[in-house]
């Protein structure tokens, strides 16, 4: 492929970052019935926090189970079977928080029907406290007009920025795909690359791992294009 064939976008990719402030709700559960009730009525930002905060808080590994509901059901209620079911909910399958909430409820309700008596109580001090997440979306000075520039910025941008574009904008802002795939396809016609990025199961990687995967996919795309000498980004320097 000729280097000239790397298209330049009319609209650049504007890298944003997001930082989160956690808020307490005063809601707490000591057994499964209480958890279910809160799951049904709590704000969406509560469901979002308990299914996503591990991604930014555990950078060194992907802990199992990856959501707080599963973790609490396993560690505090010792309901191993239900915990496994909650653990294996694949968040990628749900386009928004509403549908994810519905899935959590549908997983717990039948279990509760069958195992109504006696309900296991969490030991004192191990109650589930419900927390909500307030996100602050922060524009950065980094932009990309083509794949070279995109890769260069991706190498140096913070994990919070990658998190925002890969996770938050899809499930919380309810976009059809992650921001990277949408821009790559719509603005510079990188349909194949966009699909490959969209197919990554981001919830099973650390964010650094995800950065590496995407860069590898871009690198493979570059290797199809002899003559390119590596990515050059725009925006102020941040030492990587």
């Amino acid at each position: 492929m000729d280097p000239e064939s790397l298209r330049r976008a009319a609209q650049p990719f504007q890298f944003k970052s997001q930082l989160q402030l956690r808020q307490l709700t005063g809601l707490k559960a000591t057994n499964l019935a209480q958890m279910l009730q809160i799951l049904k009525s709590a704000p969406g930002s509560v469901i979002y926090h308990h299914t996503h905060h591990f991604l930014q808080q555990h950078q060194y590994l992907t802990p199992e189970p990856p959501n707080d509901f599963a973790y609490w059901v396993r560690e505090s209620l010792q309901e191993i079977k239900l915990a496994e079911k909650l653990t294996s909910i694949n968040i990628c399958d749900y386009p928004n928080i509403r549908s994810l909430r519905e899935k959590l409820i549908q997983t717990i309700e039948p279990f509760l029907e069958k195992n109504r008596h006696p309900l296991r109580e969490a030991p004192e001090g191990q109650e589930m406290h419900f927390i909500k997440c307030v996100s602050f979306v922060l524009p950065t000075p980094f932009t990309a007009y083509d794949l070279n520039e995109f890769a260069a910025v991706l190498q140096k941008i913070s994990i919070h920025s990658i998190y925002y574009h890969m996770f938050e904008s899809r499930i919380r802002l309810e976009k059809p795909s992650n921001d990277f795939s949408l821009w790559l396809e719509q603005e510079i016609g990188e349909t194949d690359l966009a699909k490959k990025i969209a197919r990554l199961d981001p919830y099973t990687h650390t964010i650094e791992g995800l950065r590496g995967k995407i860069l590898k996919l871009i690198d493979a795309r570059f290797r199809q294009t002899p003559g390119l000498d590596g990515p050059k980004g725009s925006g102020p320097e941040v030492p990587a």
Binding site: L19, L21, S45, F136, V238, A240
Partner: protein
């Protein structure tokens, strides 16, 4: 000693510092006025001493005023403090009158201008009575464990709290049903302070020598005040169960008991319990012995925090930051810091603690991995730079609405 923000870059990475600066462009020139009741001693003063210079470096006019009060007032507020921790206390009408009168006197003399009035703990909480006469946003920062407060004092404080624009607590279990938003902001440690900075091996060895500790025998350590809630006698029980199978030694180190009669009583009991075991070192060391604490933690094969109750448990952050494998009770803020079998081992009993300590002493590779994971967890979540970021977000949240805020 305070360090400039740039000094933290080598610890947390340049991107974290860059984003802090980017975020702080939104709060540049704001005045944030901290008000508390003491300029020296205690956790609040320590946090303000570390945070304010960094906030100033980020362009915030961070101020700090201390309310005045006589003996009568501080006697009442000490009772408030104990009662909020759940202790039985009796309050008279006069107690509440003294409290309100003192807050009124301070409200008349303090400068209450600025974008954010950041009121710390219950002592100055009544300043909120000036809410309508100033054009500021009001924050109430509760630094104490209010998971089981005495209802009389909580119900007295509640109408004040609910008039603030927002409250801040340190751990999820402190959360109460309030009419206002309540942020969760965990405390933090300063990785560059004497208590946490890297130490050369010879400094560690010299400190061990000074305390007559054999560097050749695996060390199990608990650093904590001599307090029943830290269960030092339970730690000895657990250690002796371990000692039957592993040749090791125990260090129980904490601040010297000078003015707290209960602490002196606990220390005496611990010394008595340890008297016949030459492998147990009970060290009552002067407060402020930061380098010594640092060295003892770094020299340990396993660090224990077997508290029966815990607010946040900064000693856990400190030990994890040093990459030490930890065994700690699953109470209070400890569960925010340790995920069982990922970044340490959690326990619920003396037997559980003994089993976990033994497991770590006998499996050094496993222990090392937990320690490494623990250190990374602290790097991401419990260092001063994260605290600073939370404060900036908190200030901004006072002027924005919604769960997704586009800056």
């Amino acid at each position: 000693m305070n360090h400039p923000l740039q000094a933290y870059e080598s610890v947390v990475g340049p991107q974290v510092i860059y984003e802090l600066r980017l975020l702080a462009e939104r709060t540049k020139g704001w005045t944030v006025r901290n008000i508390n009741s003491t300029a020296v001693g205690g956790g609040v003063a320590e946090i303000l001493n570390r945070m304010n210079p960094l906030l100033q470096e980020l362009g915030i006019n961070a101020r700090w005023d201390v309310i005045k009060g006589g003996e009568k007032f501080f006697k009442v507020t000490k009772k408030f403090h104990n009662a909020l921790h759940g202790k039985e206390e009796c309050f008279s009408e006069e107690d509440f009158a003294v409290f309100l009168e003192n807050n009124e006197i301070n409200a008349n003399s303090l400068d209450l201008s600025g974008e954010v009035l950041f009121i710390h703990d219950p002592q100055p909480i009544g300043l909120i009575n000036r809410k309508d006469s100033v054009n500021s946003k009001w924050l109430w920062r509760c630094h104490i464990d209010v998971s089981n407060p005495n209802p009389q004092v909580w119900n007295f404080l509640l109408p004040f709290i609910n008039r603030y624009h927002s409250a801040v607590f340190s751990a999820p279990s402190f959360s109460q049903k309030l009419l206002i938003p309540q942020a969760l902001i965990s405390p933090s440690i300063d990785p560059l302070s004497d208590k946490n900075k890297d130490l050369p091996e010879d400094v560690i060895q010299r400190i061990l020598e000074r305390f007559r500790i054999d560097p050749g025998k695996p060390i199990v350590t608990q650093i904590s005040r001599f307090d029943y809630l830290k269960d030092p006698v339970g730690v000895i029980d657990a250690f002796e169960m371990v000692q039957r199978y592993v040749d090791c030694q125990l260090i129980l180190a904490g601040g010297e008991a000078t003015d707290d009669p209960e602490s002196a009583e606990v220390l005496a009991k611990v010394r008595d319990r340890a008297a016949n075991n030459p492998d147990i070192h009970v060290l009552a060391i002067p407060s402020g012995s930061d380098l010594e604490i640092n060295a003892l933690q770094r020299a340990s094969a396993v660090v224990v925090q077997k508290s029966l109750k815990e607010g946040f448990g900064l000693t856990v952050s400190e030990a994890l930051w040093k990459g030490r494998p930890m065994v700690a009770s699953a109470v209070g803020g400890i569960t925010l810091q340790i995920t069982h079998k990922y970044s340490g081992l959690l326990c619920h009993s003396i037997e559980g603690a003994a089993h976990a300590i033994k497991q770590l002493l006998q499996n050094p590779d496993y222990a090392k991995k937990l320690g490494e994971n623990g250190k990374e967890h602290i790097r991401q979540n419990f260092l001063l730079t994260r605290h600073l970021r939370d404060y900036l977000l908190l200030f901004l949240s006072l002027y924005r609405e919604g769960d997704i805020i586009h800056l």
